[in-house]
Amino acid sequence: MKIMGVGGGAREHALAEAIARSAHSPEIYWVSELRNPGIYKIVKATGGEYALADTKDAGRIADLAVKWHVDMVVVGPEEPNFHGIPDEVERRGIPCIGAKRSLSIIEMSKAEMRRLQWKYNIPGKLLFKTYQSYSEALRDLERYSETLTWLQNVALKPARQAGGKGVKVVEDSQIYLHAEKQEFKERHMRWLEEYMEKYSDIEEKILVEEKVWGPEYTLQCFVDGRTVVGMPLVQDNKHAHEFDIGPETGGMGSYTGRDFLLPFITEEEYKRSIEIVEAMVKAIQDVTGEHYHGFIAGQMMLTEIEGPTLIEMYSRLGDPEGVNVLALLKTDIVDIFEAIIDERLAKMKIEFSDEATVVKSLAPKGYPDFRSLAKGHPVYVNETLIKEKGCKLYWGSAHLGLDGSITTGGSRLIEILAIDESPAKASQRIEECISLNPVKLLDGWGLFYRSDIGSAEMISRRVELAERVRRLYKYREERGTLGKRIDWLPKIGRVDPVASLLKELSFRR
């Protein structure tokens, strides 16, 4: 059997490793933009081949799949999905694990995702508005500043998935800092408009969404067009720095708890979350008439408005969250892929080992906002030391040169995984490993990572946060006001922002 993978990050390294573990002993072929040292090693060990190519070029990727006579293609990242790699590969008669272009719109367009959710009335929604330009957004915010009070506390996002970048949260609830925050809002929307110029595949550029607070978690699933199978919950940590401070990244580290749950999420909340993801899959299949084959994930938050709430969707595994779950997966992944292709996941028993995992990312200084600084540094890694300390290494944004040297690609360089009975213990194990400096940049440029991920301190903070949020949404649940936004304004009277949004959406349709 021959399997080809697409994408060159740590998530894809973990995928390649899971495929290599299969009892089918497949020959593994791979294509990505940089030569990932970890994937390269696996590919070579199975007798496969590795090619460098633009993974957004559907024709080129499909050509390689045909040339290598592979039995299936597995897509790791989102951009190949957005560019129709699964569509083209299947058109050439090769089954593909990856969301087709029209299905992956639920990730590509954050606005389409949200509209779909409102249209099908799927729980866990947020109020939103979209704009094509900065000036349009500004005019609107001005116009509605008195009547739509939610516009004061917002998340400003690129309307298209843009590499997990560009999200800013502005809570303008201290009147004395209003001028600073207003200025900041304007500046960021202007920046978003410029940043989005490079994406020509979408009209809407700026998404303004109501700001929510609460603990976040990711629910990743296998989908075969009929059945959605949930994996253990993972918590990813988006802030670049220690203590949840600093800019948004693709994820600086993640952990799983035991029994599919996180220490701050209940079984009932898991159930509601998976119902949301299932409903979204059904909705997007309904709209497109396509069958969804591959991975899907809900990036969720427990909010006071509705409890489990959908923040964004991934048409793939998360990175680093994918590394956590693949490390726990006991079932042969190739069997799962075959079941997805044949649409018989419902009959399959998928098992994960009941242990906790922690993943921590190491990135060169400069990531995420000043990537040119983070790129091109020579890397030294002592893999034996990492193994000796009971940890595992996954290569991320790195390039293996023909001379065997490795240089940084500018994004997260390496992810280190540990498995133990609790996140705190696994976190501690990684700390011990990293304290021995197993990863260095040979030119002396600094690396950074977050020591707090998975620690007992972090988890108790998340538990405390979840308890406060739960108290609020349970209160709403008791009163039957879950998901309702109730407001009364002097001289105007009762205001219902949900009704105004629905009116706007139906007008659009």
């Binding site: 999200v167 800013k168 949260v169 502005v170 809570e171 609830s173 201290q174 004395y176 800092l177 001028a179 600073e180 200025e183 900041f184 500046r187 960021h188 920046w191 988006k238 802030h239 670049a240 720095h241 220690e242 203590f243 949840d244 401070i245 600093g246 800019p247 948004e248 200084k365 400069g366 990531y367 995420p368 906002d369 000043f370 600084l373 600094g446 950074f448 020591s451 301190e457 903070r461």
Partner: protein, 433 residues
């Protein structure tokens, strides 16, 4: 009685240089104002370093125009009750500015001790080329009870605490943009920030444009958190070292009621610090609590006013009794601490003149007998009434029917920490803790 307030705000990410940080520092300092009312400083770093040190309250020292004229996107704030206290600026070998709370044991007074500390820091950074290691080395070697925030010419912000964690320091975060360090969480709250954690004792946290790193001294002694922070210095809405100040004060009142019960019609706390103590005393004793006083004018903390005249002025303004709450009643009057007894004597007689019958004075802390080796401005020992007089004698002087302090054990119980984990030097003197 006072200790400075310090604050640092640091933006991250693309566009970080667009923040005008002065107003954030201003409002953060407002929430730390109780820690010092004689000198206010706003320091910013952008294209250049700006150090603005002015006399008086933050509100008086900086108006809107002044704030708008201070550029810079990294900000540090400093407050003190000594008008000659100011941020330390070192120009070489490494240019840096430093603000500190408490005192490293490197000099006779706070200003000279902090200057020596800042000079050592500058030298050490220059010698090692690593500001984080340099600061940790200093924390390892320099004894004292202190916390500091330093800003270097390389846009690095260092924040650290002594090995025992005597002086507090807390960390906050705002959105994907700002990180902050402050003496108390009240400053983080007012800025709309999430309080994330305390800086650990013996730990230095370094913010640079691309990362946050933290490092701790190798050998960590037992903690010795300043107990006076919980009794008086900190705001009741602050959480220090994971312990909420308000809950501690409530418990102190409850324990006080158990240790030294009294029969009375009502419990009254002297504003504002002693009000939670009175609530606690009331809960444990079952005696109702009343509002006994109304304050006039701005909030003034009498204990930290420098001159006797101003202090007495302060008492008149601060503590106007509510006659109908006290007339004809037996009262348990609670204060947080007693320094000279002047304020208390005035207050007791004021109440009696308004018709109060018996007054049982209860103090939410042990007898204050010693000066603070770490720079909390406590009057000299010969001005401390508890050093010279017994409880019975104090009762006589202030005109109370009975008078008692909280025991040291009661204090430790209220904090939920053994005495060995607290700094108790102002109550017990230079005993080993």
């Amino acid at each position: 009685m006072n200790t400075p307030g310090i604050l640092g705000i640091y933006p991250f990410g693309l566009g970080r240089e667009n923040w005008r940080i002065s107003r954030f520092v201003y409002y953060g300092l407002l929430a730390l104002q109780h820690r010092g009312q004689e000198a206010s400083s706003i320091i910013t770093l952008g294209d250049d370093l700006h150090v603005e040190s002015r006399r008086g309250l933050v509100e008086d020292a900086f108006n809107e125009k002044a704030l708008l004229s201070i550029p810079g996107f990294i900000g540090v704030g400093f407050l003190s009750s000594a008008s000659n206290d100011s941020p330390i600026v070192i120009s070489s070998p490494i240019r840096l500015v430093l603000v500190g709370d408490g005192m490293p044991l490197l000099g006779k007074d706070r200003q000279s001790a902090w200057r020596a500390f800042a000079e050592l820091l500058s030298d050490e950074i220059s010698r090692t080329g690593n500001s984080l290691k340099a600061a940790v080395k200093l924390v390892e070697e320099v004894n004292g009870g202190y916390s500091f925030i330093a800003l270097t010419e390389d846009q690095e912000m260092l924040a650290g605490r002594d090995k025992y964690g005597i002086k507090p320091l807390e960390i906050g975060s705002l959105g994907f943009d700002l990180g902050a360090i402050a003496s108390e969480t009240s400053a983080l709250d007012v800025l709309g920030m999430d309080h994330v954690l305390s800086v650990g004792r013996g730990e230095v946290v370094r913010f640079d444009p691309y990362s946050i790193e933290r490092m701790r001294v190798r050998e960590l002694p037992n903690p010795a958190y300043c107990s006076f922070e919980y009794v008086y210095l900190a705001r009741p809405d602050s959480i220090l070292n994971g312990i909420p100040v308000y809950s501690v004060r409530i418990r102190m009142g409850e324990i006080l009621a158990k240790e030294t019960p009294a029969t009375a019609d009502t419990v009254i706390g002297i504003p504002e610090t002693a009000i939670p103590f009175a609530i606690g005393y009331s809960r444990a004793s079952g005696i109702n609590v009343d509002l006994g006083f109304v304050t006039t004018g701005r909030r003034v903390r009498t204990a930290i006013k420098p001159s006797v005249f101003e202090r007495l002025m302060g008492v008149q303004l601060k503590l106007n009794p509510i006659k109908s709450a006290v007339n004809g009643k037996d009262i348990i009057l609670i204060d947080d601490s007693v320094v000279r007894g002047t304020t208390l004597r005035n207050t007791v007689w004021n109440l009696k003149r308004r018709g109060a019958r018996r007054i049982h004075v209860r103090i939410g802390s042990p007898p204050l007998k010693f000066s603070c080796p770490f720079g909390v401005e406590i009057p000299p020992p010969d001005e401390l009434i508890a050093r010279s007089l017994s409880e019975e004698e104090i009762a006589e002087v202030v005109g109370a029917d009975t008078f008692s302090f909280l025991s040291v054990n009661g204090l430790s119980q209220a904090l939920g920490l053994p005495p060995s984990n607290l700094c108790l030097r102002c109550w017990l003197g230079g005993v080993k803790s």
